[in-house]
Amino acid sequence: MSESEYILELNGITKIFPGVKALNQVHFQLKRGEVHALMGENGAGKSTFIKVITGVHAAEEGHMYLEGKEVHFRGPKDALDAGIAAVYQHPTTYPTLSVTENIFMGHEIIKGGMIQWNEMNAKAQELLDRLHANFKPSDEIGALSVAQQQMTEIAKALSTNAKIIILDEPTASLTANESEELYRIVDQLRDEGVSIIFISHRFEDMYRLATRVTVFRDSQYIGTYDVDKITNADLVKAMVGREISDMYPKPEVKIGDEIFKIEGMSRTGFFKDVSLNVHAGEIVGMTGLVGAGRTEVMESVCGITKPDSGKVFLGGKQLKVKKPEDAMKEGIILLPENRSTQGLILSWGLGRNVTLPIQKKLAKGGIFNDSKKENELSKKFLEEVDTKAVTIFDPASSLSGGNQQKVVVAKALAQDNMKLVIMDEPTKGVDVGAKAEIYAIMGELAKKGYGIIMISSEMPEILGMCDRVYVMCNGRVTGCLNREEASQERILNLSMEHSSNERQEEAV
């Protein structure tokens, strides 16, 4: 009987948000004690699907069966009670509370009307030990690293004695070692009989852990495959819907003179003694693990944060950058990593977003906003990057991730004094089609002779697009590889060189 084989089964789930169909008739089957990967591009509906399972969202259509019985969750509480726990992509911790409080939030141990703190602390310690965590139950969550917060979330899921645990991109912000630790934990859980749904963008995760994989695309169910029977190419095709041929249109550009240089820049606690340079027409990659200090270096260059020491040169001239405006005046443009919180004002129209950095330049007499000029200009640049929008007055929040990123690019292009472009994870959360377009724009910019720095964690785009790659590890530049020298192995090697040593030190 199929009912007994599947611990969780969902049929024909449809979820509608204002204006969009987030899920359209999707299916899903989870076997008892299996690790099931759920894959798909950003915006494919994975996260929404998870929230339907955990009762956060109520589906408009469809049925859900838990151990063969149909269930209707009215809220997250019901799902928790039914033994389904989730660890979300962005840790949903309570930053002001302790680890114990976080773990037991919502299912405190209560005896005689009193919360049993001692028992809970002991239990929390037990859970943390089980996960080999290096922090204490009494620590405040806000002070912990993202990885540690993630671990707390897993401990929380464990503490509910859940039968089904959902992990939504748990490795996204973990280092290789931490990921390894997580794999171990997942294996352990599976052996204990817990069924696990695992969402990840990393193929590595899937191969390492899952036995079956379900793919979603454009809010629809595409198929479920056995991991050992499907090829990588087929899986990619299932995810993006077509074969990607020329993903990385790296143009042949003659590299010019050095235009940008950082010398010995340090910022306590973030990076130390960083030096690098960029030539005209060159695309320079910066990679390394999340938290290696790549973004922080570039933020210091752009005046977002203040470095403790170091010099920055642009076109041979030493710069004094105190605030972002200074960097912009010099022609250093940053496309920040996080579109919704750093790159765009989501409630504003596209046009206003594009012209915000240059409003002073456009303004009549430097004071009065020139709406006409602004509209024309933003129209021009938004069209140039081929944004899918009806008018320039559409709020940025109404666009998809890829199109939002294009608006950020248009915003950068609009700055006519541009000399150096720093792109921080420009393709993060962008669908494949838009990705290719962004790479193309990057190529065009290089052709025009601008210097480009691309911060990225995605190996293929680093290898595909960059002339040179700087690798950072734990706040230091550990190496610089030419296009010819660069390979996945060498980059990984450089990005982890110190990690293992440091790990040992910490353990002592």
């Binding site: 956060v56 928790l80 949903t92 509370l97 130390k272």
Partner: protein, 326 residues
């Protein structure tokens, strides 16, 4: 590692710091005026500030959810004025009944705040500002230009008379109850959760709206209780009673380490914060600081305490960064 935890304990424990400030203040005042540290005086500090102290508990809950309530003294006046009139005209004379009526009224006022803030998604300060005007106006309407005082409330005032233990018992019960509620019950956890990360709370199955409504209802109920207590202690009900004192209550919480952005704060801290505010009010006349300087001293203390807190937090962050190896 050991060093760090010790340092962290000292700077991290807001309560210890406040206690130290209190002790220093106490010693200082006692040197200037030895009568300060007498049982009578200490008793009076608690009695005269019972209202602030009780309402600070409710404000603690409200601020834990990242909200604020500036309508409390209006609620207090509305409830206080109503029972004052009831007993003046001998409609209700039972002390217990009057207390209950005041609390039910406060509960209603608070629930209105909660409903509009939770369901209408209105910023707490704006919503409670509206009700600040409304309930205060209602207090005048109820009073119809009458006070209830002295003889009118004689029987009721017996409860809060100097020398009786009624107000102290209410104070102790409230603090014990809230200490228990916030630390030892599920509901208390929910309040912290909603203030610390409302989205996470929603995802983990906490009904955020209901928690908010409850919190404002609790605040209102306490304001109603404080209204009754005010009438009893001062043997007078006036429509302008405790006008402007909501800021004292907020100040007590802020000094006590309750974060305005939610999720952080404790009953012990609130108690100490309220105590500091009370002692300032009590001590200044005793040490011959003209009472007109009272406000300035209070304002300076609020700013110093919050800024000191920010600076220590920055130092701790800085130290954490420096410890990071590279």
């Amino acid at each position: 590692m050991e060093n760090k935890s010790l340092w962290k304990k000292i700077t991290g424990s807001r309560e210890a710091l406040l206690l130290a400030i209190l002790v220093v203040m106490g010693i200082f005042i006692t040197i200037l005026n030895p009568t300060f540290f007498s049982p009578v005086n200490i008793g009076q500090i608690f009695r005269n500030n019972a209202l602030t102290m009780i309402m600070a508990l409710g404000m603690l809950c409200v601020m834990l959810t990242a909200g604020i309530d500036i309508s409390i003294t209006s609620t207090l006046a509305f409830a206080g004025m109503t029972i004052g009139m009831l007993t003046k005209y001998n409609i209700v004379n039972s002390t217990l009944a009057l207390f209950l009526i005041a609390m039910v009224m406060g509960c209603f006022c608070g629930a209105m705040n909660g409903l509009i803030i939770a369901k209408g998604k209105v910023a707490p300060i704006i919503c409670t500002m509206g009700f600040m005007y409304i309930w205060r106006g209602m207090a005048y309407v109820v009073g119809n230009s009458q006070f209830a005082s002295g003889e009118d409330v004689r029987e009721f005032a017996e409860f809060g008379k100097d020398g009786t233990i009624g107000p102290y018992i209410i104070l102790i019960v409230c603090y014990a109850l809230f200490f228990w509620m916030l630390k030892w019950t599920k509901f208390g956890r929910k309040i912290y959760a909603v203030g610390s990360n409302a989205e996470a709370a929603r995802i983990s199955g906490i009904n955020v709206d209901n928690t908010l409504i409850s919190v404002y209802t609790i605040m209102g109920t306490l304001a109603g209780l404080a209204g009754a207590l005010s009438v009893s202690i001062y043997a007078s009900a006036q429509p302008n009673m405790q006008y402007g004192r909501e800021m004292d209550v907020i100040a007590a919480c802020v000094i006590g380490g309750v974060s305005m952005s939610g999720g952080r704060g404790s009953v012990a801290g609130t108690f100490l914060g309220a105590l500091i505010i009370s002692i300032i009010a009590k001590a200044l006349p005793l040490v011959n600081v003209p009472s007109i300087a009272q406000n300035t001293v209070k304002g300076v203390i609020i700013l110093v305490v919050v800024i000191f807190n920010v600076i220590t937090q920055r130092m701790v962050d800085r130290q954490n960064l420096e410890r990071r190896e590279m």
